[in-house]
């Protein structure tokens, strides 16, 4: 799976959890909290939905991702 494919999948998740987001502006650099308004509870939904979508688990104790790109990298690493 390529990073681009992961980004496309994440955009589908973001479309549900943050329905007001203009997805054309979501890139690897987009910040989850500052730009997408994702708070701690929504971060949990993002993580759960991402785990389910990509069949992976976020490692315990890891620092919270800041950007969409960091979520993509975590998904790719977990699936590697």
């Amino acid at each position: 799976m390529t990073k681009e494919q992961v980004l496309d999948g994440l955009k589908e998740v973001i479309a549900v959890i943050r329905p007001n987001t203009d997805l054309t502006h979501v890139t690897y650099e987009t910040e989850l909290v500052r730009e997408l308004g994702i708070d701690s509870l929504t971060m949990m939904l993002l993580a759960l939905a991402t785990e389910e979508k990509f069949g992976m688990r976020f490692p315990d104790g890891q620092a919270l991702p800041v950007t969409v790109g960091e979520v993509c990298d975590t998904v790719l690493n977990a699936r590697a």
Binding site: V16, N20, G37
Partner: protein, 499 residues
């Protein structure tokens, strides 16, 4: 018309209602459920599952350990843990042994742990292993592993129902946290009222302790109400991991807040209702307004929605609504054991469940409690002719108009929440061309617009405001409309933060 007592009592089958007594102390409660439900499963972390008899025995061994510390009865003992088996057993043991329990939130930072131990005169603290470093600088407090348990057993203490059972943090999101003291009688009235839900309740449900035990709603409705009705409770040491395990845990009843309902509805939307485990029958939601769209989603899945209202100061449970479909905007009927009156629009409550005061804070206690025991809730309410209660606002949020009239922003927000195209709305005071006006900020529910251009969303919202204004006196009409593209700032329980 049914009285409130009749309304709640009629929810349970008669034989179940008659089987469950109101007990005024935690000691009597633990002894009772240990015997009454002895062979039924009580508490599970998915690895170990204990029956009520085994839970009672473990609580007795915890009591023996606590008594071995040599503290005077009534000493304050903190529990600093996640929602683990240790934390639940410790709360039952501390209170049933005649000490006063205080559950510290798992997210408490080091300085707040130290400050809270000093402020609330904590004599001993049971600590989860991973939190131990946060207690390293504590002085004059016995620091003990949360897993501590003796080999021997100690019986429950003979407790005065009016003596303190637990202290709860409240109002801690801004400024100094207060500690609301609940007596055994108050806590037990809350626990008892938590038995009332529609249908058979004894041994019918699988609960998950998903909300923090430091909060009365998580502790009373989510945990003690489970034990009072002989149901099985799963621990939850990590909310995200636990939700991910729903397909395995197959909960039948969830005690949650709307923010978590939103998460679950998002997951159901993406991955189907099987994500909830396939057995969910009831959601009990509190702590914030439940948008009708969430009630709709879950009702269509066959899940019954009950919501309620309460404060830390009323042992959580003041009213509950089991008729979400017929009375969707009401917070329900008043639970038994309380008197209520409405004074200048504000709800006042008196009864067994009312707290004893804020710990060592006579000024704020006197602000909240009248001399003859009435609690001023700070909430503006109205009752309908059937006795259903509606919150119309918070006193502290009132907007004072230039003509001196008061208007509650929450009452103006209500019609917005009822619109399926609105995700959230906040009414506030603002300025327009130098004049004071009532303004609204609306966050649209974009899926309802099905890809229509932004101009259409704005036009819809302006038309909605015009429609709502047409029902209002001119002084209450909304003069400024902002349609938000970004989410509101939110509190920990996902409520829109009023700024």
């Amino acid at each position: 018309m049914m009285t409130n007592e009749e309304y709640f009592h009629s929810m349970l089958p008669k034989e179940e209602f008659e089987r469950i007594p109101y007990l005024p102390t935690m000691g009597q409660f633990v002894n009772w459920f240990t015997r009454e439900y002895a062979d039924m499963p009580a508490l599970s972390d998915t690895v170990n599952t204990f029956t009520y008899a085994q839970l009672g025995q473990r609580v007795a061994r915890r009591r023996a350990f606590i008594e071995g510390l040599g503290l005077p009865k009534g000493a304050h003992i903190a529990i600093f843990d996640r929602n683990s088996q240790d934390a639940i057993e410790l709360f039952l043991a501390v209170t049933s042994a005649g000490y006063v329990a205080m559950n510290f939130p798992a997210s408490l930072p080091e300085m707040a742990v130290i400050g809270s131990c000093m402020k609330f005169d904590i004599a001993a603290i049971f600590v989860r292993e991973e939190f131990m470093p946060l207690t390293a600088k504590l002085q004059g407090v016995k620091v003990l592993p949360a897993a501590s348990i003796a080999e021997t057993e100690a019986p429950a203490a003979d407790i005065d129902p009016d003596s303190p059972a637990a202290i709860f943090f409240t109002g801690g999101t801004t400024g100094q946290p207060k500690g609301a003291v609940l007596s055994h009688r108050a806590l037990m009235r809350g626990n008892y009222n938590a038995i009332f839900k529609p249908g058979k309740v004894i041994g019918q449900h699988r609960y998950i302790a998903i909300l923090p035990l430091s909060h009365v709603f998580g502790l009373i409705a989510g945990t003690m109400g489970c034990f009072y009705t002989g149901n099985l409770l799963f621990t939850c040491e990590d909310m995200k991991a636990t939700i991910g395990k729903f397909p395995m845990l197959k909960p039948t009843l969830l005690v949650i807040v709307p923010g978590i309902c939103d998460i679950l509805s998002g997951l159901v939307k993406m991955y189907g209702p099987q994500f909830l485990g396939g057995n969910l029958r009831m959601i009990i939601s509190g702590a914030a307004n439940v948008p009708p769209r969430l009630v709709d989603i879950f009702t269509k899945l066959g899940v019954e929605f009950c919501f309620g209202y309460g404060l830390t100061e009323t042992a959580n449970l003041t009213s509950a609504n089991a008729d979400a479909v017929t009375h969707p905007t009401s917070i329900g009927r008043i639970y038994p054991g309380q008197e209520t009156k409405v004074v200048d629009g504000e709800l006042w409550v008196k009864g067994d469940n009312v707290f004893s005061g804020y710990y060592k804070d006579p000024v704020r206690t006197a602000e909240a409690l009248t001399e003859d025991g009435w609690l001023r809730t700070g909430d503006l309410v109205r009752f309908d002719e059937e006795g259903y209660l509606y919150i119309t606002g918070r006193i502290k949020n009132l907007i004072i108009l230039s003509n001196g009239e008061n208007v509650s922003p929450e009452s103006l927000e209500e019609p917005f929440y009822a619109d399926p195209c609105v995700r959230d709305a906040m009414v506030k005071e603002d300025e327009l061309n130098g004049s004071q006006v009532i303004a609204v900020e609306i966050l649209p529910f974009m899926p309802a617009f099905d890809g229509k251009p932004w101009e259409a969303v704005e036009a819809y919202m302006n038309a909605l405001v015009a429609k709502i204004n047409a029902t209002l006196p001119s002084t209450h009409q909304i003069r400024k409309v902002t349609v938000r593209t970004e989410d509101f700032k939110r509190t920990g329980s996902m409520k829109v933060a009023r700024v």
